[in-house]
């Protein structure tokens, strides 16, 4: 299989995602410049973290109008896999591939630290190598990760099992103390109804090797690979 890692001006986790997919996981990976529109040959597109277009206006608000996004929407409509990490998740919300919106963190600061996540749905192509209820250790690094969705929208996410990851403590308890940014229902990652577009605020590429403090994130990339094989 082949991963495509999109580079917008201002992306800064592109090389980290590329490294995780290619050097750590050992799969094929290629960069895709934001002006390119041909996605043939790719099995999974990764929208990496960073500050696309400087996060000016609002994170992801300008990137969604980028040329490549039309192709990515088409790509997703065909059922191919799209993974948005951090700023990539924000772009997926802005372009409407996933529901909801991001607010600034409740403490109004950028937060970079390891947090715990509870796997709420391990039946997805992105998480099938985890067990439901498993507690993962992964870092977050964002200023706008306070996920918001209307009560109706939240109910739909819950009813359809679209909430994939939630913030929890080391023991797996999901409560407000374990919520780093104020996200509704401790939501850290969601998937679309069809199950082929996944967005999450934590950084699996930063937790794909034990030497970095955790390799819990690698199974996300590996899940995609194994699902496709």
């Amino acid at each position: 299989m082949k991963f495509g890692v999109v580079i917008f001006p201002g992306s800064n986790c592109d090389q980290d995602c590329f490294w995780a997919a290619k050097d750590v996981l050992g799969e094929k990976a290629e960069y895709i410049w934001h002006n390119d529109i041909d996605l043939r040959g790719f099995d999974c597109i990764i929208l990496p973290g960073g500050f696309s277009y400087g996060d000016y206006l609002r994170p992801g608000a300008i990137a969604r109008f980028s040329r490549i996004m039309k192709s990515i929407v088409e790509f997703a409509k065909k059922g191919s896999f799209v993974l948005g990490i951090c700023n990539g998740f924000q772009i997926l919300l802005e372009v409407g591939l996933l529901p909801g919106a991001m607010l600034p963190n409740k403490n109004l600061h950028f937060i970079c630290r390891y947090i715990y996540l509870k796997v709420e749905n391990s039946q997805t192509p992105f998480t099938h190598l985890y067990k439901t209820g498993q507690v993962l250790s992964m870092p977050i690094a964002h200023h706008e990760g306070n996920f918001y969705i209307t009560p109706d929208g939240l109910k739909r996410l819950q009813d359809n099992h679209q909430i994939v990851l939630r913030y929890c403590n080391a023991a797996g308890l999901v409560d407000s103390n374990a919520n780093p940014n104020g996200a509704v229902d401790n939501i850290a990652g969601i998937i679309n109804e069809r199950g082929n577009v996944f967005g999450l605020m934590p950084h699996p590429e930063r937790s794909s090797e034990e030497i970095l403090g955790s390799d819990d994130g690698l199974l996300i990339f590996d899940s995609i690979r194994k699902w496709l094989k």
Binding site: P9, N12, D16, W19, F51, H109, C112, H143, E209
Partner: protein
């Protein structure tokens, strides 16, 4: 105002614009030039300068850019050490196998005091450009900050503003802000210090130089457009004391980290083509500095026309264009015929790239404005400001402040309380409130995170190696005893590297002092510099780059002399890294080094007794070097579970940190043996140098002892790590770790947001 008796030289016909020639004394003084410098300019040009020329001299010959007062002494810094060094125009580094590790530290003190967010942000932008201009990809940033005490609201405002500026700029550009240090002392009220270090990595054979080459090659301006921001930043703002009511905000630049991120990528891509013959960023002194220094370093001349310079404001005058310190701009010398290829790369990243001139062989910097010459100066003379031999004199306070009669000093009745009080001192507390606002993990190289080791460690992808980075300086020590204080800064930086398992390799320094025109301030500078020189020589460390920041004073007085040391160390095997936290229960806790009854200049004296006095701790460089070698050997042989240096707050604070720095896995300690029969407060909180606390499995005691003996290092088994989550030190201290953790982890937040 006194009239200057300047000899009036005839105007040469190379400069034709009459309006440019009207110079009054007020003009050059307003630009920060002295009468003496103006006379020199007249001698060089053999005529009156134009306004543009005067502007160019004023920035190039500012203390900030020209090192007029410091240059004589900076020559003493060792340029060679145990690692092979590379010394470039804008930065320096070491060779590690096939890689060049390039690094430099720089100050942005005055801009940050005036406008903390943008001041700090643009300080980061500037130092990053110094690194990638050498063709190196920046892999880490470190911030060494000094503020006045947090009880003053303005100091809290400065701290918040500076941290905000660092996160605003550093997070966006995608370089981990991996570590640093913050000290709080009243001496920094009114003049905070913001020193930023950047580390980059390049192929050792592909390092770029900041010089022009080849007659006819193009001079390309790349990056952001030029505005009126930062005019006089390096001269009027950075090279003068703060007065009483001056409004200097317009001299601070405004940064755009998104532009910088694109500039990094475009520049590295441009360099990779092989078409770039030389490159320099436009930092302090902007277009003047970049063009004239590149010409002078290359032994060539440049001929540029300002009409091609992209601008963001209308009606900018030539002198404004030459002085502007607008951010995110570069000058490239590009091989003739390859201009289009380079322009295309910058345009792909949405950036300007314009040919503004050509390399000449007449060694002149010639600046035109739509064809009309507005400046024509010999490059060599413009970039060779005078070097002054500044007078120095021991300050009056020195004798008094070193006095301390320890016998009249009472001891705390409750050592638990004393420990918690010192732990909650803003200088000692854990700074996660700060470093969690910085992206310290991007690029996925940070293998020792801030707060968990004595230095941060970054692996070098594609190799088995890693580098460790630290910054250090106790300004209070340097105030009391500049020579010893500076030596300690070097020794402690090296010790911090050793504690994570890194061999200290080389130094960058950022020398922050008061007004060099005052002999008592210059004495501090001279003594600190000599301290750095002696310690670096002894430890075989080269000083590969650095920066001097003078005039850090306001009507209340000067800052503590603060020669911040940035140091890089090399770890051969990334798997052999040690951190400070105790790892397992029932392991031995051992102190390497000895405890001496010394309390002078300590955090304990300041926090508990409200005194800043007494001789600073003695440093025996020979013992220090042996200690460092011994600990590296122990780590190399896999004997240690943890290693932590004793610094501010002494043994008790260091032990507390070993217990609680892993939030989810705290380990207790029971100390039942202390090495010396000295006063209890000196034993617990004294800051004797050359001490490292290690922990290890019992079975390793024998080999550890053997190594200690081989290097003649005093060793004392203090006690054991425990399952019980308490820190117990003989009968003096007995505290639950939760309590220690809460004080150490949460006090900073409470201080900042009080």
């Amino acid at each position: 105002m006194a009239e200057v008796t300047a000899e009036v030289y005839p105007v040469r016909n190379s400069v034709k614009d009459d309006s440019e020639r009207i110079i009054s004394n007020g003009v050059y003084r307003g630009l920060g030039l002295t009468d003496e410098l103006y006379q020199r300019i007249l001698k060089i040009l053999k005529r009156q300068p134009t306004l543009t020329e005067l502007a160019m001299f004023s920035v190039e010959w500012s203390e900030h850019c020209g090192y007029l007062c410091s240059r004589k002494w900076l020559k003493l810094l060792p340029k060679k050490g145990k690692f092979k060094t590379l010394i470039g125009e804008d930065s320096g580094g070491i060779i590690v196998d096939d890689l060049a590790v390039i690094f430099k530290m720089e100050s942005h003190n005055h801009p940050s005091q005036v406008e903390p967010k943008q001041g700090a942000a643009t300080g980061i932008g500037g130092i990053i450009r110094d690194i990638f201009t050498a063709g190196a990809r920046p892999i880490a940033l470190m911030d060494s900050l000094r503020f006045g005490e947090l009880d003053k609201p303005y100091n809290r405002y400065l701290l918040k503003g500076v941290v905000d500026g660092i996160q605003f700029y550093g997070n966006c550009v995608g370089i981990p802000t991996a570590g640093g240090e913050i000290y709080f002392e009243d001496a920094y009220t009114g003049n905070c210090l913001v020193n930023v270090m950047c580390v980059g990595v390049a192929d050792k054979n592909k390092i770029m130089r900041a010089r022009v080459k080849g007659k006819g090659n193009a001079i390309i301006y790349a990056g952001a457009s030029t505005g009126r921001d930062g005019i006089g930043g390096c001269s009027v703002l950075a090279s003068a004391e703060f007065g009483k009511d001056e409004e200097k905000r317009p001299t601070v630049q405004i940064g755009d980290p998104f532009m910088e991120k694109c500039l990094i990528e475009a520049t590295l891509e441009a360099i990779a083509t092989g078409y770039v013959a030389g490159i320099k960023d436009m930092g302090a002194a902007g277009l003047t500095c970049s063009t004239s220094e590149m010409a002078s370093s290359g032994g060539m001349g440049v001929d540029i026309d300002l009409k091609y310079v992209p601008r963001r404001e209308e009606n900018m005058q030539p002198w404004e264009l030459m002085m502007s310190e607008s951010q995110e701009r570069m000058v490239l010398c590009v091989k003739k015929g390859k201009e289009k290829a380079i322009e295309k790369i910058f345009s792909k990243w949405g950036l300007n790239a314009k040919v503004i001139g050509r390399v000449t062989d007449d060694k002149m910097v010639r600046v035109k404005d739509s064809g009309k010459t507005v400046a024509c100066i010999p490059a060599e003379a413009l970039t060779s400001p005078p070097m002054y031999d500044m007078p120095y004199k021991e300050p009056g306070y020195i004798k008094e402040i070193r006095k301390l009669n320890i016998k009249t000093l009472g001891q705390p009745g409750d050592y638990n309380k004393a420990l918690l009080k010192i732990l909650s001192s803003p200088t000692v507390i854990n700074k996660h409130w700060v470093y969690e606002q910085y992206d310290h993990m991007v690029q996925t190289n940070t293998v020792v995170l801030p707060g968990s080791g004595d230095s941060v460690v970054l692996r070098l992808k594609g190799t088995s190696k890693a580098i460790a980075v630290t910054t250090d300086c106790n300004g209070r020590y340097c105030y009391i005893e500049p020579y010893h204080g500076a030596q300690i800064a070097v020794a402690e930086a090296a010790r911090n590297l050793v504690c994570v398992g890194a061999e200290p390799a080389a130094v960058t320094d950022c020398l922050n002092f008061g007004n060099p025109q005052k002999p008592e301030r210059f004495w501090q500078f001279k003594n600190c510099l000599e301290g750095i020189v002696s310690a670096c020589r002894f430890l075989h460390l080269a000083v590969v780059s650095g920066n001097v920041s003078f005039y850090n004073e306001n009507p209340r007085g000067a800052i503590y002399p603060t020669p911040t040391i940035g140091m890089v160390g090399v770890i051969d095997d990334v798997k052999k890294i040690t951190t400070q936290v105790f790892k397992k229960e029932d392991e031995l806790i051992i102190l390497l080094g000895k405890c001496i009854e010394e309390l002078g200049g300590s955090e304990y004296l300041k926090v508990i007794h409200k005194k800043i006095c007494g001789r600073v701790p003695r440093l025996n460089l020979d013992l220090e070097a042996r200690l460092q070698k011994a600990v590296l050997r122990m780590i190399e042989e896999g004997l240690l579970s943890s290693a932590h240096d004793c610094s501010e707050g002494g043994l008790a604070v260091a032990l507390a940190e070993c217990c609680v720095s892993q939030k989810d896995a705290m380990i207790g300690a029971e100390i039942d043996n202390l090495p010396a029969k000295i006063r209890v407060d000196a034993l617990l909180f004294g800051e004797t140098q050359s001490r490292i606390i290690i922990s290890a499995a019992t079975r390793y005691l024998k080999p550890i002892k053997q190594i200690a003996r081989a290097y003649r290092i005093p060793l004392c088994v203090l006690g054991r790590t425990t399952k019980e989550k308490r820190l117990k030190i003989l009968s003096y201290i007995d505290l639950p770790l939760d309590k220690i953790f809460d004080t150490w982890w949460n006090s900073f937040d409470r201080e900042v947001n009080r």
